[in-house]
Symmetry: C2
Amino acid sequence: MDGYSGTSLRIDLTSGQVKRESIPDEDLVTYIGGKGLGTKTLYKELESGIDPLSPKNKLILTVGPFTATIIPTVSRHGLFFKSPLTGVYGESYSGGFFAPEVKKAGYEMIIIEGKAPKPTYISITDDLVELKDAQHFWGLDSHETEDGVKKEVGDKAVRVSAIGPGGEKLVRFACISNDYGRQAGRGGAGAVMGSKNLKALAVRGTKKTKVHDEEKLRSYVTELLQKLPKELPLRNVGTPVMVDLENKLGTFPTHYWHKGFFKDHTAINAEAMKKIVVRNKACFNCPIACGKLVSVTDGKYAGTEVEGPEYETIYAFGGLCEIADIKAIAKANDLCDRLGIDTMETGNMIALAMEACEVGKMKMDPKIKFGDTDAAIDMIYKIGKCEGPAGTLLSQGVRKAAALLDMPEIAIHVKGQSPAGYDARGLKGMGLGYAVGPAGASHLRSNIYAPESRGMIDRFATEGKPAFLKNLEDRMAILDSAICCHFGRDLFFTWNDLPKLFEFITGRPTTETELHEKANAIITNARRFGTREGISRKDDMLPRRFMEEPLPEGGSQGSVVKKEELDKMLDEYYALRGWTAEGKPPPD
Amino acid sequence: MDGYSGTSLRIDLTSGQVKRESIPDEDLVTYIGGKGLGTKTLYKELESGIDPLSPKNKLILTVGPFTATIIPTVSRHGLFFKSPLTGVYGESYSGGFFAPEVKKAGYEMIIIEGKAPKPTYISITDDLVELKDAQHFWGLDSHETEDGVKKEVGDKAVRVSAIGPGGEKLVRFACISNDYGRQAGRGGAGAVMGSKNLKALAVRGTKKTKVHDEEKLRSYVTELLQKLPKELPLRNVGTPVMVDLENKLGTFPTHYWHKGFFKDHTAINAEAMKKIVVRNKACFNCPIACGKLVSVTDGKYAGTEVEGPEYETIYAFGGLCEIADIKAIAKANDLCDRLGIDTMETGNMIALAMEACEVGKMKMDPKIKFGDTDAAIDMIYKIGKCEGPAGTLLSQGVRKAAALLDMPEIAIHVKGQSPAGYDARGLKGMGLGYAVGPAGASHLRSNIYAPESRGMIDRFATEGKPAFLKNLEDRMAILDSAICCHFGRDLFFTWNDLPKLFEFITGRPTTETELHEKANAIITNARRFGTREGISRKDDMLPRRFMEEPLPEGGSQGSVVKKEELDKMLDEYYALRGWTAEGKPPPD
């Protein structure tokens, strides 16, 4: 292809060997890049049945054909690995400024294998790849590590992805941070890094991204930008705009998933947030700027400065733990970021502990109670550093912790990952999305919560949802392979735009139909990875509470996702994907 | 109910008798108003098998609970009748300033029956209802009639709905005009008026609309308006914004439905339109202002001033007839408006004549050819006044004219009504929407062309489309009953907003689920009307060309709606609506 070809960088941490490999053109045509390429490589290269925290796991980092072009909102990189949290397929994405450096350094993919004999960081400047000693960084939090590595590399333009103590301690939901406020949060990629003695990656690139037809791309992007509405809710208040909406719908998860309505929502909503926002924070070449830098200047948490909290962090600490204080949530956010642990999973674990104490499944003195901010903040430290019995237990993730506490029926997860802040009982398409998620309950593989929550489609209906979900999943799989930010999905990346953008960049004409086929192949590869690890229809299941305990009050009162509703949706979904009634994909 | 009760005005033109009737509260609860009430009344009161142009037909005009409240974009009134064009259920809506006057005069519904012994107009001022001689208006065009009636009534604030020569001459697709630029265009409501010797309705009201909780409504509406994006494409350029989009997709109907791509689109698109737009024209209390007043100041059509052309007019004359001149289309638009005939159906009929001449089915000397502007303009006069053999023939509507020309297989219609400017071959959900339309091929009962065209859902897919269509149809049925403008659908009338707006106005709490049930009941009543006239699955069929002749070029090249695709969608759609596999609704 004229405009798009690719090099992969393979780094074996055990031997210290570094290799550059050409990615076969047909892989780039079939799998695009990003998720497509990462998933295909992971499936092909990983042995089945391995321990995710063993040297046999790999951490695959990809960018895509759109990265570091003039297209807006394409600042994301993806990570693919066997997940220490779920034991199956793991994927996670982060924005900021890291992806363009990887691309400009000349790589579509970085495959990290083995385990370094001692704490190490990787420094990449274009063709120069070095493994460097990181013993003096070990134990530092993620921000300190970013600072330290940048200083040591000595190039102000270098971008750093790093783990904090959470990753070092192998917390099953440790994240990887970059640009101080951006995280590849889900699935425990940080623990995979930690298990490899890898503290950080520092990357700097100076090459130009190849684009087949710069002229056409520029004029198309100009056109798209001209259509951009002047008022964007994500720019105005960021993702916390969802708090009031979900709460109104009765789908704002509260009191560890017992309720869908938080009476104190005004203490944690967008309005509350506005009072502590200092300024917007945008990723590379992003006109949306959903990120919000907040600063707490008074009270107990004075001095807290953090990018966030995002809606998902607010739901996990605010709703689930009933912490009615946006400043405390900002503090919790900052702590998680510095410790390098996923805010969503951390909030879920603390709320689970609150519930376990409430029902007597967990003995702590004093008990950790819903709404107890100090105890929650303290528990974040314990989880991030695996301290004490409670911290160690909760760092194991929801499924394992619930099993150890003898409360598996109470734990809310799919395949071991906690859901996002959208209760499936009032958003039934989201329920199907959670159930079939290859990496567990994720809202990001389809974003179907958005049209359901905004009243564009009937949120309680199940008819037609499998096809609607599949269509969105397909589009998001393409976005995750290109790689584009999901927040640009209706601005720059509709089915009308995508074929054109691909053609201008790669020189290869494509169609919506062809992109659907590619998306299905990509999603099916992720499924194949799961199937090889034992995943089948039985695992595409919602937590018992979603199916049997109706929401007690609010806008979704009385609703559940009935088993028969889920079964029917699964039947249809599998058929649409070309999988068997047991959810098994066709042979490779 | 506290906030909403209703009076119906019954006017028997044969006897001159006028009655005021209370609408049963349970009808308003079950059927809301607008379409719900109109359809129910039409179904209940009309004898089956009658001639639509006989005195036994009724013309039912309704407004709804939202009319003349502070909610934006609720300026519409609906008309319900047996359609002279299709012979089955007819419905048509118009915006402007007429509906609020009907509401303020104290009426939810006006039922017009019988036939006046001589040309008559109805004058309503609150409780005062008078039948007045209209012999001196007979023969005048719709604008002149509006002028004349206003002057005669002598109240500057009176609003007038009137027919032009087309309605008088019983053109099967004659429309009813109000406010000079707004038409209830589809289905031939104007011919029903003409058949009743009714030239116009003049209405003036001074009462205040009852609202249950004005405080809450005001604050909710304020909130909605604050969320209104500053940039609205419909405000900027109006509906012609769709020309380039549909043309890109290859779904812009061209050369009487042979093609989906018009090479000269830049001569008739939004940019071309901008050159003749003088200013925006909004309906009552509408912040969108999609209407565009245009003025042609040079060339052959200098002096033309008209509200429009809308996208549908541009497609019908520009694409179908291949008239590559926005000024000529403005002229055609103005002529149709003054003559009181539907621009969409008129454009279709002229393009059909062009095709008939091309294939030798119609003998004219000289032939009327695609792209021949003068001949097209001339033909509009002939159709509107039923002049000569061609005018008389084409005024019969597409199904009858095609049968008389011995080309039924070539005519593009569903149940006798021509489709809108969205070729179903590249928008398959729209195909299903056309097929099941109770009044024939209409884009307005679901607006599914919009998410399909904008790339939100896969436009070539058929999986999941029945449920998606049903959901949109349900929402539009509620909007048509409230009555709200469809262009407010994603701004003010999502499923989240509707229950609240109804509660604030009527005082009766409702839910999304309940609204779906009401919508289904309303849509099923329209179906029952059709069933009683002989409509069944066989009529829910697309034109042969949509199913067998692939589009020859452009963005939908090679695509058709296969018979088996349509059949599968119909099966699913009927099941979702609770109808039999033959499309028969359950007994009343």
